[in-house]
């Protein structure tokens, strides 16, 4: 169980990025986080991953406070971040350096098989397409069998077709291994295709604005009326959070910069 308890983050430069973020994610659940640009989604994932520290509150995984990168937590960044000097197999096995060679090779082969890239094991990262590279990054994060996998806009650099393929891929990986997934995305449909629950955030300071259950049968049909109704609710929440001027909790009126509309 992943729990965020009143998590806040103020950067050293004074930017108040997050405030009072509390929610929990059950094992095997898929949660999507959506929100305008700059509302602190990446910051939030970095806090959960242990790469950064909250300035208030705590991130707790299985009753244990997360203060540094944790073996039960994997992360996939917006860019594949493959190490260019390792082959695809070397990259996928990066987190298994301390395991015996035979075990490592077997798990790497298995992971590459799962993402459909078994034939690319010996290839250099530079020789992969963007979608293939992102699949390798997902395989690398999954190989140590994390309990929680965090994904920060993992498909946003890809074209619409590849993105839909990779969403299906991610879901089939999830069906096999059942990790907890926390996925940040700008794409409302992606959020609804993937997630059991959609957390809508609101900026300055970043906080949870709405939690919307997407209680739909899988695989999800983008055309269905139920899908559409969830989509409407998410969009409505986003619209309100993207109003030109929003009334904050303490009644103060704040003008949101035009940049906040770029999500």
């Amino acid at each position: 169980m992943l729990v965020l308890d009143r998590v806040g983050k103020t950067y050293p430069n004074g930017v108040h990025a997050l405030e009072g973020i509390s929610f929990s994610v059950a094992p095997g659940e898929i949660v999507a986080i959506v929100g305008g640009s700059g509302c602190g989604k990446s910051t939030l994932l970095r806090l959960v991953s242990g790469l950064d520290h909250p300035t208030q509150g705590a991130v707790i995984l299985d009753e244990e406070r997360v203060t540094a990168p944790h073996e039960k937590i994997g992360i996939v960044f917006q860019e594949p971040r493959l190490l260019p000097w390792l082959t695809v197999a070397g990259n996928v096995g990066f987190g298994l350096a301390d395991r015996p060679k035979a075990e490592r090779e077997a798990r790497v082969a298995d992971a590459l098989d799962r993402v459909g890239l078994a034939d690319k094991a010996k290839v250099w990262p530079r020789e992969l397409s963007g979608g293939q590279a992102q699949r390798v990054a997902i395989a690398r994060a999954l190989v140590p069998r994390p309990e929680v996998l965090l994904l920060d806009e993992p498909f946003s650099a890809l074209d619409a077709f590849t993105r839909i393929d990779l969403q299906d891929h991610l879901l089939s990986l999830w069906a096999d291994l059942k990790p907890t997934l926390v996925i940040v995305t700008h794409d409302v449909e992606e959020a609804i295709v993937l997630a059991d629950r959609i957390i809508v955030m609101r900026p300055r300071p970043g906080r949870v604005f709405a939690e919307i259950e997407a209680d739909l049968a899988r695989p999800r049909d983008r055309q269905s009326a139920a899908f559409d109704s969830v989509k409407r609710r998410v969009l409505a929440a986003l619209d309100r959070s993207l109003d030109r001027s929003v009334v904050t909790d303490d009644g103060e009126t704040q003008a949101t910069a035009g940049a906040a509309l770029w999500w």
């Binding site: 790469l51 990168p69 971040r81 190490l83 990066f94 350096a97």
Partner: protein, 281 residues
Amino acid sequence: MSVVPMTATAEQSAQSATTREPRLRRLNGLARPALGLILPVGVAVLWELAVRFGLSDGRLVPPPSVIFETFAELARTGELQRHASTTLARVAAGFGFGVAAGTVLGAITGYSSLASRLLDPTLQALRAIPSIAWVPLFILWLGIFEESKVALIAVGVFFPVYLGVMGAIHSVDRKLVEVGRVFRLSDAAMVRRILLPAVLPSYVIALRSGLGLGWMFVVAAEFMGASEGLGFLLVDGQQLGKPAQIVAAIVAFAIIGKTTDWIIAAIAAPFLRWEDVVRRD
């Protein structure tokens, strides 16, 4: 590592780019390096002929055949090998010290911003001094024998290596370092598995430019008084009026210098295959 694959690529892409005149293109690909040879070879042949036909006595500018004979003669008597190995030993020692110091200081200043603020200004100031200016001081401190020569070469090698290592560490992608952190690498593993491979390409370039400067400075060092070495052959040839010996020594410098550079490149090549692939794309 660089020249051959690159020309091959240029040729291939030129071929695939135009299907209309592939043969002309290929001719161009092969002819381009040959074109560059026309001038020097032509001048050499003309000069050779001019001396043969008595148009010049070739005393100050010896014809190619005389240079070749001198070279062969020096090699046969073992003189060439003796001088060359002396010079090589000096370069090796100077290169070793220069690389060691440059790598260590470059790594420290690259890694720690405190060390960088502490050391870098001084080192940059020292770098602004033309290295030959150290010669009198080195001779006073270290005498006129090997030590002062090695010191001068080491100074020459130091700066490109220092700057290369520091710059390479500064420019290591923070995002890749984060990948290391996600997988909870220890400090030592972080250095070995992320930082070292990331800086290796720039390090090899730094080593090669350091070596180039090493060869430059060994000549300066041997000019300042030596009884052995290729630089001595140069000075000796000048004092005794033997231009062929000078040119033969220059040729020897060129051959050995290029060979040592090639050795570094060849040793590094297997570790940089991932990068080579990029260039070939």
